[in-house]
Amino acid sequence: MPHFPFDTVLVANRGEIAARILRTVKRLGLKGAVVYHVADKGAPAIALADIAIEITGKTPVAAFLDGEQIIAAALKAGAGAVHPGYGFLSENAGFARAVAAAGIRFVGPEPAAIELMGDKVRARKFVADRGFPVAPSAIEDDDPASFVERARLVGTPLLIKPSAGGGGKGMRIVRDLGVLEEEIIRARSEGQRYFGDGRLYVERFVENPRHIEVQVMGDAHGTVIHLHERECSVQRRFQKIVEETPSPALTAQQRKQICETAAGIARAANYRNAGTVEFIYGAGEFFFLEMNTRLQVEHPVTEMITGLDLVEVQLRVAAGEKLDLAQDAVPSAGHAIELRLYAESPARGFVPTTGKVLALRLPQGVRVDSGITQGQSITTAFDPMLAKVIVHGATRAEAIAKGRAALRDLVLLGCETNAAFLDRLLADDAFAKGEVHTGTLDARPDIAAEPALTDDLKARLIAAAALSLRPVKDSADRIQPVHAAIGGWRSA
């Protein structure tokens, strides 16, 4: 066991991530503390922690965003380190500084690195200035007189965006430089109409782009290594659903190149602790998108192929230890896929769903990072992610097969989830061939659509429902098949 200069770690998060971090904290012989909101009463993380401290706020989310309250809780728990998890305050430089000022170690990067990468424009300039690939672009503000000329240099296809834009409004794709000038004039007028601001921005448009990111890790002694890449192209509403490693899109040469680029960017930023450098990839080219200065939801796939516990590495680095792993010695064994289980209705546009978890059986024999428990109510107070199912196989096909088996083994009753949708996705030919991009789900609504209710399925569903409901109604004395139905596996 390593020796840590702190004996208690406070986890400033909730759900599956809090539970996952606490498990490592306790495995390392440290005490785990967690803050919680009453909306999560009964959640697994609270039971796992040695110390649980209630936090309050106008909303449950507001409580987790109240840095002062969290630092007070850390002091109360006697915590020598605060792990922010992801989301909430994990990329808040002010919080990182306040934690340090309270004499507590922040398990994450230096505040300066958080600030640099948190400002997208600054980060992009920082990366481009050091010779790393960013999508060619031009900002009208820089010099309006030369804007059209500079836009020409971006090359085609290019995307014109209103500087003040958002939500895809007023964006135009140009594939022929002959029409560039007139498209710019139209876009300016659209920008004026939509946002009251006609200033523009152009960048190279990547067709059917794929999202590829690289896990990096740095220590306080100047070492930065990468832990290979992940592909996270399957998304809905810009939110990832399935992540895997290695990316099926890259050749060995491209993989090496993108990973070394990521490590180079992190090194240039004097990066410490866990981070992720995100790229957009298409037609053999990749461009820097942004860097996330935290551990990410999909870190388990990296853990599966490297055999590392990233939270342990984070805690060791935060304790001042040197990374003792040479870049060439970072394993990449087999293929891992993470499936995010969400409380949502894929057939109704992925809208969040609510309900009470009446029955829960998590798949056996695979890694499941779960933040839910039977009897818990799923509300709209937090993100709708319920759990992550992570599978590992010698090959991608084996991982897909294991993922499908795990999804079919998973039983969650009382709240609609995307489990069946994930199974349809894994079964889809395009996914099997690795031919997905960030727009795949928009282009393929058939994957989200529910299959038709056949007469055979109707008969089986009604039989199961009626046989469970009727004896309950008929007689309280009679043995109730529903109990047998649930008990058959609940006791397993």
Partner: protein
């Protein structure tokens, strides 16, 4: 008796009958032997694992790798419940359907149990009877009209003291 089941909001009419051994499911023209024991569902001789959790009249059923919501709508129970509610004299549609016959008009005096309307849902005819003696205040639907679940069908004038 056949009941209405809403499977993910889709209506299916079916009945469950006790048989010599176990139960039979009546669905359309089919009469299918069914059984449920030890977490296994058997339908027409085919057996498979199933998980069910109940929430009032809703059965959450895990089958074919996904969870389904199956709501049981007992026409008689709903009707009786509405009639006995007392505080509310409006008879509410227990299920979506259409009106087969309207037997009363506003101002009519009716006896308890008198058939006021006949409605039909998925080939299932249900007589809507007066929950108590009284006077018809309003008939909200006409013959051949369609209505949604929960729609007001007939209103009785409030019962007077005495």
């Amino acid at each position: 008796m056949r009941h209405l089941f809403l499977i993910d909001e889709q209506e299916v009419e079916a009945g469950l009958l006790p048989a010599d051994t176990g139960y039979r499911l009546l669905l359309g023209d089919a009469d299918i032997p069914v059984a449920l024991a030890d977490g296994r569902l058997t339908v027409a001789g085919r057996s498979e694992p199933v998980a069910v959790a109940l929430e009032g009249d809703v059965a959450h059923v895990h089958l074919d790798g996904r969870a389904w919501r199956v709501e049981f709508v007992d026409a008689v129970e709903r009707y009786a419940h509405t009639g006995h509610a007392g505080a509310d004299d409006v008879i509410i549609a227990p299920m979506p359907g259409s009106v087969v016959a309207v037997n009363v008009a506003a101002g009519d005096s009716v006896a308890a149990g008198q058939v006021l309307l006949v409605i039909e849902s998925m080939k299932l005819e249900t007589a809507i009877k007066a929950p108590r003696a009284g006077t018809i205040d309003m008939v909200h639907v006409a013959a051949a009209a369609t209505f949604n679940k929960g729609a007001p069908l007939v209103a009785l004038a409030p019962a007077t003291e005495g």
